[in-house]
């Protein structure tokens, strides 16, 4: 983070005539006015649609408020103690962490492998980017329609391919042991292009001279990848992993659309639980409390990130 400048830039030559103190304070008053005037539009939205909901959500989590507006009296921390004893809440949280783990690993590793391969000087660069990145431009609903259709037990492409290999059919979205993996496959297909592009950009920023020096020393391709590319990609990888974890924790769309959290709650994520507590259970207060528990988890991870990056740079 760069720090704000409070004095005039030192590089500027000193003005021939020193401004009188009155002129200076006039200028700083004008700067105050201008600064806040330029900030005002963003600030207005920021206060209204971010700060205010954060506050009203916190207040709501201390009430028994329902979607119909009834029961808005204070009940203290009752929602929180109920949530901590709610096995469905824990299960949704567990599902979310499981999804985060099994989606982050391939979304980082495969993206890196793809970027490294494409960066080997392959022809038709635009074609690879087009293929791997274009799914990222699809709405979650489109992705879910595509994959639900391919996962169809009788008419789906996946079971057809398995049958050709002599493997018995799989109940992709209806088997509690498989459903989350099916969601992860769709998610990897959908979003890998994003991490792929970030890795590709980072790889192209590594100076060629490093590789030249290494190949003069007789280092082969693998050696160059592990001792030049990978270390150089360290900071990028840390950022991609953190962003991916934070993105995966927020998973809702594709799961809700493909399985509605089923079978039997096996894929229900914490965001879906928040959504359902509020909009199908009509319990806004309880839902707000779970939102804050989820936010607490995100904050913990963010703090861990700060801690890790500090330690690395220290």
């Amino acid at each position: 983070m760069s720090t704000a400048r409070t004095t005039a830039p030192p590089a500027k030559p000193a003005p021939a005539v020193k401004p009188a103190p009155a002129a200076k304070s006039l200028r700083s008053r004008r700067d105050n006015l201008h600064g806040w005037a330029f900030s005002a539009p963003f600030l207005a939205f920021f206060l209204m649609f971010l700060v205010w909901p954060m506050i009203s959500g916190a207040v709501m989590s201390l009430t028994g408020k329902s979607l119909t507006g009834a029961n808005s009296g204070f009940i203290g921390l009752a929602n929180y103690s109920e949530a901590f004893a709610d096995s469905d809440m824990w299960r949704s949280l567990g599902n979310t962490l499981y999804f985060t783990l099994i989606s982050t690993v391939p979304l980082v590793v495969i993206a890196l492998a793809l970027a490294a391969l494409v960066n080997m000087g392959l022809p038709a660069q635009w074609l690879w980017r087009l293929s791997f990145f274009s799914p990222f431009l699809l709405a979650s609903t489109v992705v879910s329609l595509f994959f639900a259709w391919m996962y169809n037990p009788e008419l789906g492409l996946f079971n057809d391919m398995l049958a050709n290999l002599g493997i018995p059919p799989v109940a992709w979205l209806n088997d509690p042991a498989v459903a989350m993996w099916a969601v992860v496959i769709a998610t990897v297909w959908w979003t890998i292009g994003f991490n792929f592009l970030l890795y590709l950009a980072a790889l192209q920023n590594i100076p060629q001279q490093h590789y030249e020096a290494a190949s003069l020393d007789g280092a082969g391709g693998w050696r160059q990848f592990f001792s030049i590319s990978l270390p150089q990609l360290g900071p990028t990888t840390v950022m991609i992993v953190i962003l991916q974890i934070l993105a995966s924790l927020k998973v809702f769309d594709q799961i809700y659309q493909m399985t509605e959290g089923g079978p039997g709650g096996a894929t229900r994520s914490i965001v879906q639980y928040i959504f359902e507590a509020g909009f199908t259970g009509y319990r806004l207060g309880y839902s707000a409390a779970i939102s804050y528990i989820f936010f607490g988890l995100i904050l913990l991870i963010a703090l861990a990130q700060v801690f890790i990056t500090r330690k690395r740079s220290a």
Partner: protein
Amino acid sequence: MATTTLSKPALQPKGYAETVANRRAKTPLSRILATVVVSVLAVAWLVPFAWATVTALKSETDAASTPISWIPASGFTFDAFAKVLQSGNIPTWTLNSLFTSAAITAITLVISASVAYAISRIDFRGKRMLMGVIVASIIIPPPVLIIPLFQQMQSLNLIDTYWALILPQVIHSPMVFVLKKFFDQIPRELEEAALMDGAGRLRIFTTIVLPLSRPILAAVAIFVFIGAWNNFLWPFIATNESSLLTLPVGLQTIKSAYGIQYAQNMASALLAALPLIVVFLFFQRQIIRGVATTGLAGT
């Protein structure tokens, strides 16, 4: 992006091109292997599109018959597309998505660029705190806000209006940070001269800073637009009326409505996918560069 090294030949040592050529010529086998692997994966990545297209071009009977086949028994037909376009609301939803995403992008650009300019250039009291608060807010996940935002929109009587879709989606704190970093790099001398000539802040901002910032503004616009176009959770909550739905939310209602019309499902999905894919084909370079420059913005 791909041409970073090529566009700065002066920085490369002599014989650079030759060395690269040598390096590449030396390992033709590994490059051929890489090309094969990447090609296989690229084809695999295109399968969902291809299968959806083939299904959409079948009759419903062929789409639902076993064993499944890439070539339908009764030939290809545009029936599914025609039916979806006649009976469905896809054109309306596309316009809704276009309008709300464009409005979100425009408002986001205006308010983010002006606050970023103030923080980058004007010495005003409280700006460090302001920047600190904006950066800290990056950590707030949007799903945490859905319950209180719904409540707020309900009490403002905005549920089922375009306002409810647009207003809560224009705060993109990471983009403020990205823009501020870009503005920081623009030489101050340009503005100092204009200030001396008596130009106001607003004029300097609109006539000097913004034109110089076109690439970053485009990158931010692309990023925000794609996000808004594809956003699901908030529009799903904020609208119920069919004529106000955005494409992603509308598709979800189609899915529940024609559960077993496979060809029509795929035709709808493809029609929904089409606009951004076409835009991508035209602006591939800008989009890819935009994602690469703003992608790590949350950091």
